[in-house]
Amino acid sequence: MAERAIGLATAVRAGDRSARSVVESHLAVIAEREPDVHAFNLVLADRSLARADEIDAIVAAGGDPGPLAGVPIAVKDNTCMRGVPTTCSSKILGQWRPPYDATVVQRLHEAGAIAIGKTNLDEFAMGSSTENSAFGPTRNPLDLDLVPGGSSGGSAAAVAAGFAPLAIGSDTGGSIRQPAAFCGVVGMKPTYGAVSRYGLIAFASSLDQIGPFAADVADAAALFEVLAGHDPLDSTSIAEPAAQVSGVLDRGVEGLRVGVISELSGAGIDGIAADVQDRTRTAADALGAAGALVDEVSVPSTVFGLSAYYLIAPAEASSNLSRYDGGRYGLRVDGANNEAMNVASRSAGFGDEVKRRIMLGTYALSAGYYDAYYGKAQKVRTLIRDDFAAAYENHDVLLSPTAPTTAFPLGDRTADPMTMYVNDVCTIPSNLAGHPAISVPYGVGASGLPIGVQVLAPTRGEAVMFQVAAALERTMA
């Protein structure tokens, strides 16, 4: 991994380094390794160089381009950027170019960050390996035979490969944190509503959040501060100003109460690998040694999270993805009449996993089945919130593994969707509760691959979450 975002921005703002040189050096890394990794659907070379020149001009004129001045950032390709093809790694969107910028894209622009490319993902963010992309899989830069995780695999790989110091992804059930863990970078899902979803192409609206990828916790915190904040264009955006988190990173964990979630740390769920369990325990011990009060805590309903998630997310997706009907934009396959055109376009445009989830979701919402499926899943969601609330009565943060295993080989889990879905078991509860959570790389497992440890916090608990994450990171140093 290359230079850190904060250092680059400081140098660019001071005029010690040109934004052009920063972009050029990252484009050089991309030119060398991108053909192997395939992190990007589109590299915005000319555009990012032009933007770099603008930033250099601002600095030359004595202005301040913002806290992320000149820092290249990789943007997940389900985030709208005006005039730039935004594909969701699906054939159905064709070469559609949004006529508007997502709010986060605008915020990044205003902060001086430079969008260097659109990153690959599982189609419409549905997947945990970035193998469900219509444009081919992304490979894990640490071992090209392995998946980078998903769905934001392209963004995680871009940071891990040094293509950009920062990236943004979206996290619906773990799509930032799990690939961050697989690629050995930091990935964070904010509180639901902390970051605007305006311009994020929806997968499951009540779960989706945009969040940062970075090489370390401080960079992730800096990016979070740029992304977060109220947006009147998103009705679910939190009205209050976002938490300032950079200032708390050095505070340590003395006296903080950390609960290791027993259900997600090996005891409650089959399939949490021994090396993952081991690193999680080591992390907990390290926090204890640093002065935190660490114990085990039960959050019983988290074990139902996976089942509830795979009803709620597909249900919302089945509705969100209706608009891709061939009528107004994207792929159109002609048919004898409008309905035949709709069916032909959707049949040709969507991949298998997307179709599977549309069918699941349609079924879950059907008359006569709603109460048994979608309705019950919503009750589980309430239960999980209640259980978390109980756990947070006497804990400041919770701890668990991010993913049950380290990165697995390409093709290893594509045959059976259920083995793929289990990847999200530790991350899903935070999405269902709307809580923030961050994956911090915490050493390597048996095969030398990175393992992520997840710090969870209650709603709008980003500050204490980052505080603990930074302290945890320091225990590795």
């Binding site: 985030t79 709208c80 935004t86 969701c88 969107l93 559609w96 949004p98 006529p99 508007y100 997502a102 979803r197 305006y198 311009g199 994020l200 192409i201 929806a202 499951a204 609206s205 009540s206 009147p232 264009l233 998103d234 009705s235 679910t236 249900a315 919302e316 089945s318 509705s319 209706s322 608009r323 891709y324 009907d325 009528g327 107004r328 934009y329 009449n337 409008n338 309905e339 709709n342 349609t362 919402l365 059907s366 008359a367 709603y370 979608y374």
Partner: protein
């Protein structure tokens, strides 16, 4: 739009009509329900659009608070319980609906349990009045003009996302006149509170009628058909009558209607079959995750009630309580002339005469007349100082140019004839037409008109016909 006076078509003996109405009204907000695009009618197609109302990927709805306020006002005007509500998605594919789902309210609408009072005094229960977004407008080119056999279709998304309220009545309506009166009254309320221009011809008010019939005296609810594409109150009457007769014919021939949506064909005066219930879609309603649940606080509701203008039913009651007949009260309120009428009566105008002049002689409103002047004119007429013909002439001039009735009457040379003068003229006429007078005395009342006419001619219309009649009757009695 004034209420038509028509003869109620009579359904075959032994059958009772059962009608419930679903009325969609566009709310007259400046902007659309979920974006800042202009809410306007008649603009160049697809001019008033943005990523949100085009349902582009990544766009999100932001609720227009003015639309909510309008919907709550309507709810209160309909006597509804206004409460916290939740938006839902109604999922179905249609090219004029850009997201292929409609944001509406499902099991938790803003307004429930209201009612509407018809001019007859009958009450129709309003089950709900909920907020939803309108669709775009499709024009199907080729074939019959409907989508299934069109060569191609054009879609104008200017209307997509325009705020609507859907007002759903109970199946409480049992005559065609009541159905028409219901829609007319609803329209009057919408216009009165200013939340919609409610123009059926422009589609800002659209009426679907759920029609069934049952044996008279029964309280069963039989299979209903929902008749759509009704473009006027007159159409509503025709469509209901057609549909009811179709049902009765089916029952009489041993068949039964099937539950379906039917399309009213105004030109041919019939309805044609649309979607049946069997192939009706499952809309897969669920809570709209992009919007927060909506509160309705007691303070908000109290503020709406405080600001509520007088509503048509109350305004009619005010007039009838002041002595105006019910039919005139309906017309005066529909025309918005009721306040003027009430004020004229309050300053002394006799109710019946005031109503008559306003209904018949001032259909476009009082113009330059003020209530005091009309009251004075009515007073002159009722005391016989002016004949009704003279009063009408004076009124026309007052309406056009204002002024004092007495001065205008004097300028026209209208003066009350004194009775002595009229007696003299009558004596002369009796002398000139002895045969006719004899017939009158013997009871042929038709010749009375002859004498009145002669006196009017002799006085150049200045005599009061009423007074002449009284004089003639007095001679008979004498």
């Amino acid at each position: 739009m004034t209420r038509e006076a028509v003869v109620e078509p009579v359904l075959p003996e032994g059958w009772e009509l059962v009608v419930g109405c679903e009325v969609h009204c566009e709310l007259a907000t400046a902007t659309k329900l979920f974006c800042g695009c202009r809410n306007g009618f008649g603009d160049e197609p697809n001019r008033n659009t943005c990523p949100v109302c085009l349902g582009l990927p990544g766009s999100l709805p932001v609720l227009n608070e003015a639309a909510v306020a309008f919907a709550m006002q309507l709810g209160r005007a309909l006597g509804s319980t206004v409460r916290g509500s939740v938006f839902a998605r109604k999922n179905y594919f249609y090219p004029d609906m850009p997201k292929d789902y409609q944001i509406t309210q499902y099991d938790q609408p803003t307004n429930v349990d209201g009612f509407l009072e018809l001019p007859t005094g009958a009450r129709v229960t309003i089950e709900r009045a909920h907020i939803e977004e309108d669709t775009g407008k499709s024009t199907h080119v080729g074939g019959s003009g409907r989508i299934h056999d069109a060569s191609y279709s054009l879609v104008d998304y200017n209307r997509a996302g325009v705020p609507l309220v859907e007002i759903v009545s109970a199946p409480d309506i049992h005559t065609i006149d009541d159905a028409k009166a219901y829609v007319a009254e609803l329209r009057a309320i919408l216009v009165t509170i200013g939340v919609s221009d409610a123009k059926m011809e422009e589609g800002s008010m659209r009426v679907d009628a759920n029609v069934s019939v049952r044996p008279a005296g029964s309280d069963e609810l039989r299979t209903r058909c929902e008749v759509k594409n009704i473009n006027s109150i007159r159409s509503l009457g025709r469509a209901i009558e057609y549909e009811a007769r179709r049902h009765i014919d089916l029952y009489n021939s041993g068949q039964a209607p099937r539950q379906e949506t039917r399309h009213w064909d105004e030109a041919n005066g019939r309805s044609t079959s649309g979607r049946s219930k069997e192939d009706s879609e499952d809309y897969r309603y669920f809570e709209e995750p992009d919007l927060l649940p909506l509160d309705a606080t007691a303070d908000e509701i109290a503020a709406i009630d405080d600001a509520m203008p007088p509503l048509p039913a109350g305004r009619r009651r005010l007039l009838t309580d002041a002595g105006v007949d019910a039919a005139s009260a309906v017309i005066l309120v529909d025309r918005g002339h009721d306040h003027f009428a009430a004020e004229t009566i309050r300053v002394g105008g006799e109710a019946a005469l005031v109503a008559r002049h306003l209904v018949h002689n001032l259909p476009d409103g009082p113009g330059e007349v003020d209530p005091a002047a009309l009251a004075a004119l009515v007073e002159m007429e009722s005391t016989g100082a002016l004949s009704s013909t003279q009063a009408k002439t004076v009124l026309a001039e007052l309406a056009a140019s204002g002024g004092e009735p007495s001065a205008v009457a004097a300028a026209h040379g209208f003066e009350a004839m004194d009775t002595g003068e009229l007696e003299g003229i009558l004596d002369d006429l009796i002398a000139a037409h002895p045969d006719e007078w004899t017939r009158f005395v013997e009871g042929d009342r038709k010749v009375q008109g002859f004498f009145v006419g002669q006196i009017m001619a002799a006085t150049k219309g200045q005599a009061d016909g009423k007074v002449v009649n009284q004089l003639m009757q007095a001679r008979l009695a004498g």
